[in-house]
Structures are given as C-alpha cells and as structure tokens.
C-alpha cells in the first residue's frame, strides 16, 4: 500500500496534478482534469514516448513497473463496478479532442486500466463520439478489439474504463525505426485484419484507422481502439461523411469526394499501415491537402482512367487534368523493403491498396492470403475472443533497432499472461 501511494504521489507531482486524497485522485470532478485547448487530436498515449524516455526504458515484459501490487495492496471487498471510488488514478497518459486518458488501477481486482475521462458539454449532453464508442464496443467482444470494462457515469462526469494496453503502433514504430521485423509485421497485420474482419462482418466501419489507434500490448497483441468515429452500417450503401479518416490513410475514392464508401475504406488504411510497418515511414505522407494526398497516391498507382476504374469520372472531385500523367509503379520500386521480401508480401500490399474500392480485398479474404501461410494453421480457427498468442510458437521477435537500448537487442518478453489482461 505504501509503495502504491508513493508511486501515485510521485506521478501526480511530476504531472503537476492537484492531489485531493493521499495517493489517489477521485474521478468525479472533471474540473480537476487539466485541459489544453491545443489538445492532441487523438487521445491515446501521444505524450508517452517523450515521458517514457526520462522515466523508464520501456520494457514490454514489465507492465507493473516492477511492483507486485497484489502482495502490497489489500483489495477492498464490497467495491462495485460503475463507481469512481473503485479505481485509483495513477498518471495521465494523453489528451484527446473529447477526453483525457489516465492510467489507473482497479481496486476491485487489481487490474491496470486506462481511464478515459470524457469532457461533458452541459448543453449537448453526452458527446456523440462517446455514445457511439460505448454502444458499439458493448456489442464487440474480440481479442483484437480493445475491451471496455466499465462505465462510470455521474451527474458531472463520464469515464470509460478500458483494459490497459502498454503502447500503440505509432509509438512502437517510433521506438523501432527503419521498419519492423518482417515476422512481427506479419503478426500485427494478421491481427489487424482479424479485427477488421470481425467488425466488418457486423457491418461496422472503424473509419479512423491509423497507427495511433492500434494498441499493442507487451506480448504483441494488437487491438483496434478509438471507435469514436466508427459507425454501424446497414446493407445498402449510405452516404457517410467524407471528413473522416486522417488524410494519410484516406483512400483515393474518399479523397475525390465519394461518400458511399464501405468496408474498403478501412482496408485502404490497413494497406497504408502495412507499408508503414515494413518501410518505417508512412506510405503516402501528404502534407497540405487532399490534392497533394492524391498526387502521392497517383505517383505510385498511376492516374486512374475509366478503363482501370469504371465510374471514377463520376466522382465529385475527379480532376485528372490536374495531375501529371503517371504510370502505375511496381510497389517494390517505390518501397524498397518489399523487394527484399518474398513476392507474396508485395502481392498482399497490392490487393489492399487498389485504387478502386470494389477491387480491394475484403479483410476476411485477406486473412487467407498466402502471405500468412507461414503462420501456424490453428490461427485460422481461433474463437473470436482468443488471442493469437495462445497458439504455441506465436510470439514477437526482437526488433533490430531500439532507440531505448541502442547498444543491443532487447529480449522479447516471454512472461506468461499476467492477470492484467
């Protein structure tokens, strides 16, 4: 107990947070949560990389920070889910457009949790992003979808309690620059497509795929997070806002103003992330606007014509005359890493990054692509809620480069699943 208090106190001092109780902070006063108007647009962990460098070298194998909470902390009995007093707030992880995320610990069972404190607008009630996220996640139970444990809803504040996941793909790629181990790319990609196949099978689109929204546990489990922009979709294609999806991961049809997109929207994002993991740099890093973004894409895929993409000329912002004519490139000539890997890697990338949405491979079919043949066969038949790391022989390989331990390779974790997950 003593050390827990001490750790929490230190965390609060470091962050300059007001401390109202010895060792922990209650969650029922959102006014205490620091709010900056230039908040990071995406809530999860964006601040963590910097802090991690000074606080500790990130060790995937040590989620509890070296402390054995169970022995030192008497879990209170009689505590219930749904109340703020059941959670201790440990440290701030990041700030998003509509929420602040803290690392916390459940006093009910000792699990680490991520506490997403939603800012409430009194005039508008609960933000639609929060309602969407919670109501969708309530129906989604899958090993590759972040788990929503609990909702604490009082008159003044709203907090979602998620499972705690150490890092995200953006941070992971920052920590291991220059492209990831090809085996790790394969298991991340498999999990990403597995999660997408699950939600797409339920006609739910994520609509905001990017490395920051893919959480990575110390074992290497990948989990789709941040469903604030997701929505469920009935069969006939409806119109969706074209203002979703960060520009870099946005498919050309949406960039050209198409609004009747479907699951192929997320598939394009998955393709971009695939290249980014291999290459260590974003596939299409446009800077200015949709035009520049399209230019980057056409430079690789070639400017589409009615022959290569029937219907393209009917898209609202189809302006082929604005672009210099360019021919489709071999992916391996653009992204050199593909040239060093077996052909099927490039083949999968090409199936994911087709310009015409209807040509993009569905997630379910992509899982059967020969690229994944080298993974153990039982992976194909797992129940939804079972992690791929339950299959013997599946584990993260050591990455070649690590900015936290530049001297040598870090050992991947072989620690069995702790009770935190």
């Amino acid at each position: 107990m003593q050390s827990l208090r001490q750790a929490a106190t230190e965390a609060f001092h470091r962050l300059g947070l007001k401390q109202r109780h010895l060792g922990y902070e209650e969650l029922n006063d959102p006014a205490d949560a620091p709010y900056s108007p230039e908040a990071q647009p995406h809530w999860f962990h964006t601040l963590q990389v910097r802090r991690l460098r000074v606080q500790r070298s990130r060790s995937n194998s040590d989620p509890m920070g070296g402390k054995n909470f169970e022995n030192e902390f008497q879990w209170k009995t009689g505590l219930q889910f749904g109340t703020a007093t059941s959670y201790l707030n440990l440290e701030k992880l990041g700030e998003g457009s509509y929420a602040t995320v803290y690392k916390g610990i459940s006093r009910i069972n000792g699990h680490l949790v991520a506490l997403k404190v939603i800012r409430m607008k009194t005039e508008e009630g609960i933000p639609f992003t929060a309602i969407r996220e919670a109501s969708l996640l309530k129906g989604l139970k899958h090993a590759n979808i972040v788990l929503l444990h609990d909702i604490i809803h009082t008159r003044e504040s709203l907090t979602f309690v998620f499972e705690y996941v150490q890092t995200d793909l953006a941070q992971y790629m920052t920590q291991h620059p220059g492209g990831l181990h090809s085996y790790n790319v394969r298991i991340f990609m498999f999990q990403l497509l597995r999660g997408l196949s699950y939600i797409h099978g339920r006609r739910i689109l994520h609509r905001d795929l990017k490395p920051q929204n893919l959480l990575i546990s110390y074992l290497g489990e990948l989990k789709l997070a941040d469903f604030g922009l997701a929505r469920s979709k009935s069969i006939p294609s409806q119109t969706y806002s074209s203002e979703v999806v960060t520009l870099w991961y946005r498919p050309p049809d949406v960039l050209m103003g198409s609004t009747d997109y479907s699951t192929a929207l997320d598939i394009w994002g998955a393709g971009c992330i695939f290249i980014e993991m291999l290459q260590g740099a974003p596939a299409f890093p446009g800077v200015a606007d949709a035009f520049e973004q399209l230019q980057k894409i056409w430079a690789v895929l070639g400017v589409p014509t009615e022959e290569t993409w029937p219907g393209v000329s009917e898209l609202p912002n189809h302006k082929p005359e604005w672009f210099l004519p360019c021919e489709p490139q071999q992916f391996r000539n653009v992204w050199k890493r593909l040239g060093q890997l077996p052909y099927k890697t490039e083949d999968l990338a090409q199936l994911l990054l087709r310009p015409a949405p209807r040509d993009r491979i569905p997630a379910q079919d992509a899982l059967l692509h020969p690229y994944f043949n080298t993974l153990p066969p039982p992976l194909m038949h797992l129940r939804d809620t079972v992690s791929i790391f339950k299959v013997p022989g599946v584990r993260l390989e050591a990455e070649a480069r690590d900015i936290f331990s530049p001297g040598g390779r870090i050992k991947p974790s072989h620690t069995p699943l702790t009770k935190c997950w």
């Binding site: 005039e123 969407r132 809803h153 929505r231 469920s232 009935s234």
Partner: protein, 342 residues
C-alpha cells in the same frame, strides 16, 4: 478482383446471425394490459401517439429510417424496463430519438439538442433532456446498438435478391420487384402500432416481406419457408404478426407523407440516370421545414428509392398505369421530378 457469390452468401448469413443475436440479447417491449402499459398510466393510444411524433420528428430532421427505428427500440426498451409516468412520455420519446441520432447519423446531420428542442415544438428544457439521456443510458447499460426491423428488411432483401433463397422468375424483367423503400415505410408505419410493437423486429420485417411475396410471387412459399428458417422465427408468431400488419396496412393506402410537392426537372431527362427506371428522377419535399441535405448523392439515391416505391404503388393498382413493363427509354406520361431545393 471478383469474389465468389457463395462467399457473399456466407457473409450475409453471418450478418443475419449476428443481428439475430443482438436482437435476442436486447429486444424488450412494454406489456400492455387493459390498453395501458402494465403498471403505468400510459395508454396504448399515448404510446402510439409518441411513436408517431418520433416519426414526424425524424422526417423533419431528415434522419434515415434506421435512426427512427433505433429510437423506437430505445423508447420501447426503456418503457419495458422502468415504470414511466405519462408526463415524461414525450421527454423519453424525444431523448430516445436524440440518442439514436447521435449513434446513427453523420456528424454534420446531428442537430444540437437546443435546435432539436426548438424545432420539435416540445416544451422541455435542454437540462431535462440531458438528464433523461443519462437515465436512459444507465437503465439500458449503454447497450443501445441493437438490430431493428429496418436492419432486417435490408438483410432479408439482400438475401432474396442475392438468390439465397432463390426467387422465381419475375413477371417482367424490368419491373422493380423488391421495393425496400416501400417496405421500410410500411415497417415505420407498423412500429407505431402497439399490437405490432409486441413482435420482434425480425418477425415484423419478415411479415411485411411475406405479405409482399404472397401478392407478387407465384412461387413465394419456398422462399418464405427458407427465410423463416434462416430468421429463426416461430411460424405461429409470424402468422399472428402478418395478420395484424395486413389489417393495419390494408386499412389505409400507405403512401408517402401527404402534401408532397414535386417539381419538374428537365435536366434529369437529358442526364438519363441509369439507376432510375424509365420515369426519371423523383424527389419529394414535405411541407415541414426541411434541412438541406449535405450530400447530393444521398438525394439522388433517395430519389431512386422513392421511384421504386411509386413503381410498387402502381403495381398494386393505387395508380392504374403500369409503367413497370415499359421498354427502356420509352416515353412515359409522368415527367421526371426533382425537389426544388438542391
């Protein structure tokens, strides 16, 4: 790259299975006793009235039918979970619709609570609605995203048109055979009826489709039995639902909202939209203060759906002319119509 039809069918079957599971988990309807919701002072008439008002509001704000259906499901689930007082009925109704809107509608369509309150003409304060929002979310454990009758209409429609179960040959090839737009309208209409609110969305959707199949397809029975099996609906339940729906729907000629205004659009004659059958583009403007649609495409799609609906009405003899069998490109007496606001 083409994907085999069977894969699509497998996906549809999985989708149906998931929707049924969600419905099984979440569906709940208020119990009526002596024309009142059991244990409350809410009469079946008031219940129906509240749902009709939700329908009105959802048309006023141009919500998609899915939003209305989700709103009604939230409304009914809450009434089944708590003993509500009649004076809060409308507050529950409007808040249910606001919650459905927040889940289902695009960001730019979502009206602020204040606008919603002002335009709906109800006399609740935003504070009351925000408080009700919290109560509904807590009572329903934030688990709002269920499958509604409209979702099932889409799934069954996809199953029937994708050939699983395969449908017999159409009478006229060009005749629009399945009219989801009309079915959806019928479902919306049925949802207000308190007797029909006792049936699950899957049962109601199947009943409406069966009524149409009986009318239009000579060999409807095999299709029907197959759908019945897939939807895991009890046949006794379905027959009861179908009879009630039939009574309700044949009692009145269900058309699109009254006072619709149509304006001739010469442009669309020349454009020759391939999706639209010979008549050209139809659109509709209701008298209620409409919100401008943000996406032109949506408008066109709606127009196509409304056209489908009209085609069906012709087919049912509401309007004697049958334009369904016209050869492509032929002249029809009806000019293409378009809403005046773009």
């Amino acid at each position: 790259m083409k994907y085999p039809e069977s894969a699509e069918c497998r996906r549809l079957a999985a989708l149906l299975e998931d929707a049924l599971a969600r419905e099984r988990r979440l569906w709940k309807a208020p119990v009526f006793k002596n024309h009142r919701i059991q244990g409350t002072d809410i009469s079946s008439f008031q219940h129906q009235d509240a749902i009709l008002w939700m329908d009105e509001l959802s048309q006023l704000f141009k919500f998609c039918p899915e939003t209305f259906a989700l709103g009604v499901s939230i409304f009914n689930r809450l009434l089944a979970s708590v003993k509500a007082q009649q004076k809060y009925l409308r507050c529950i109704a409007i808040t249910s619709l606001i919650l459905a809107e927040k889940i289902n509608e695009e960001d730019e369509v979502i009206a602020s609570v204040k606008d919603f309150v002002n335009q709906s003409g109800c006399n609740f304060s935003t504070a009351e609605i925000v408080r009700m929002e919290r109560i509904i979310l807590d009572k329903l454990h934030w688990d709002l995203n269920t499958a509604t009758a409209i979702d099932f209409i889409h799934i069954f429609h996809a199953l029937v048109t994708s050939g699983q179960p395969r449908l017999p040959q159409r009478r006229h090839q060009r005749e629009p055979f399945f009219h989801t737009a009309l079915w959806i309208r019928q479902v919306q209409h049925c949802m207000a009826c308190h007797q029909l609110s006792q049936f699950k969305g899957s049962t109601l959707a199947l009943a409406i489709i069966t009524l149409e199949l009986e009318r239009a397809a000579p060999d409807w029975f095999s299709v029907f039995t197959d759908l019945l099996k897939k939807a895991q609906v009890e046949s006794v339940e379905l027959i009861r639902c179908k009879e009630t729906a039939d009574e309700l729907l044949s009692g009145q000629e269900l058309t699109f909202p009254p006072n619709a205004l149509y304006i001739f659009d010469g442009g669309s004659v020349a454009r020759g939209h391939p999706e639209l059958a010979p008549g050209g583009a139809w659109g509709r403007v209701s008298h209620a203060g409409r919100r401008r649609r943000s996406q032109a495409q949506r408008k066109e799609k709606d127009a196509a759906e409304y056209y489908d609906g009209f085609g069906c009405l012709y087919d049912q003899g509401v309007v004697p002319a049958d334009i369904g069998g016209d050869p492509p490109g032929s002249y029809t007496p009806c000019p293409p119509l378009q809403p005046p606001v773009s």
